[in-house]
């Protein structure tokens, strides 16, 4: 199977977040817990649903991840933009996001 991670928006501020190895949420996709089996993906989603029940996250879902470069990066363009921020208004991006932006095709 392809490698997967879980993303969601945080309830309070709406920001994009990725489920991390320690069960917390990070705004950096590189911190994502990468699932390498269907069972692990299912477990990640169940973990995310507990965050939904705890009023931490909203609408979690699995995304495909490419970690071949040593750092996790979404496969789909939509998810790349969610990870890096808008591509058309660079001035609004953080420095960290600009690094990600360079990788958006």
């Amino acid at each position: 199977m392809t490698q997967q991670a879980v993303t969601a928006n945080l309830l309070g501020d709406g920001r994009v977040a990725f489920l991390t190895w320690d069960g917390d949420w990070s705004d950096n996709v590189a911190d994502s817990h990468i699932a390498t089996s269907d069972e692990e993906s299912e477990w990640l989603l169940e973990t995310a649903q507990r965050a939904v029940a705890a009023q931490v996250a909203v609408d979690p879902y699995l995304i495909e991840i490419d970690a071949s470069s040593g750092s996790a990066w979404p496969v789909q363009r939509r998810e790349q933009i969610r990870a890096a921020g808008p591509t058309g208004t660079i001035n609004t991006l953080s420095d960290a996001s600009v690094d990600g932006l360079k990788r958006v095709a």
């Binding site: 309070g12 939509r78 609004t92």
Partner: protein, 549 residues
Amino acid sequence: MYRYDAYDSQLVGERVAQFRDQVQRRLDGALSEDEFRPLRLLNGLYLQLHAYMLRVAIPYGTLSSEQMRMLAHIARRYDKGYGHFTTRQNIQFNWTKLEEAPDILTDLAKVEMHAIQTSGNTIRNTTADPFAGVAADEIEDPRITCEIIRQWSTLHPEFSFLPRKFKIAVTGAYEDRAAVRVHDIGLAMQRNEAGEVGFEVMVGGGQGRTPMIAKTIRDFLPKDQLLSYLEAILRVYNLAGRRDNKYKARIKILVHELGTEVFRDQVEAEWEQLRDAGPNLDSAEVERIAAFFDPPSYEPAETSGYNAKLFEDHAFSDWARTNVARHKQSGYAIVSVSLKPEGEAPGDATAEQMDAMAEFAERYSLGEIRVTHEQNLVLPYVRQSDLYALWQGLRTQGLSTANIGLISDIIACPGLDYCGLATTRSIPVAQRISRLFANLDRQHDIGELRLKISGCINACGHHHVGHIGILGVDRKGEEYYQITLGGRADENAAIGKIIGPAFSSDNVVDAIETLVNIYLEQRYDGERFVDTYERIGQSPFKEALYDAR
């Protein structure tokens, strides 16, 4: 401008208090997301790609300087320092925090603004000619009608859960600057043979995946019977609209499936039941509302200084040619302020630019600003003698681009950079086209060319009615762009026709340049791009695009 009465203030104040409670219950876990989602959408709060997005209503696109300052404050205090003016004459803030949304609504209420009915299957903000009240070709100020519709439609219990969203646009002038023919209902003011004022009523226009031009179901509706007639239309739609299929739920599909004649007969039959007992306003109430839109006391204006500057300053003259329109009052001008500077996101304005516009409005335009569906701003009451000073001020704020109606005055939806529905990006394509045609002399030589870009089939970027339309389509993860030609949003509205296979993101901007070059080769004197296209047809453009491939 209209000012809230006690009912308006109470209604908005109570809604803010309700929403504050709803948000707190969501954060506390008393409301699930499924329970909360429809409540936040009723208050214009979406969850988009990156964050919550708050869409604030700007009734018929009219803003006071005080309101613009509040929008600047919200951009600065609660967002990332900018806002996005939309094709519905509204503004969107893209980085709203749920925790702060009630505070934003509280701040908006202080200046008589809100986000009610900017989402959901309701009657949305009624839009209008941005030159309302000052256009030289106007019968009456359409904002009086818009305000009456606003009061009638706000929280209307029968029309709060329609089959789909519902958009009304009104123009009081012959020249259609409000795109009324691509709205669910378009109202175009007319005079009948007796000299009475009423409306041509058009129904079933719209864009999206099934674009349609509205059909006229009444050539002349007396003004005083507008609300009962609107109620009859909405009632027919509410009962017969397709609730079984989201993609067939807009009124345009109902009108199309029934046929214009049958739909008209149903509306007229319903109206017969309503017209005498319906919600029509008495003349005193109309006069009360109309008084808010009385023309200002115009001062005798000096014009010689303006004319001299036109000769002296080439850049000012270029700006005046595209961005200054004729005012109904001698000595005054209507100024369009472009939110499309070279290489920037169409419709975006920073907090500093909003504050500056408030300042310019107070100094030069009786404190009033308009928002256009083409994502620009308008100062409607500028003395010609102030134009040069205003232009110099606009230059210091990056607001003096002389491109209104030209190829870089692009309508673009937020696209995949912000929108949860989009499948491709719009803004970067607009920015690349803007940069390619950055030379203003070249743009002025090309002349009027309405270019519109949508990042998905929902067509929020109005690509169907662009002289050149660009629709982004996703093909196996790659962004492609389909080009349409010949669309128009004006009084001769038309849906553009697809010219051929879509272009890759790398090639689409070159394709636009090819189209422009064919126009320049083929045009007759005085012809705009769309005129040449209508005269020579698609073939020359198509051959230039595809034969060499």
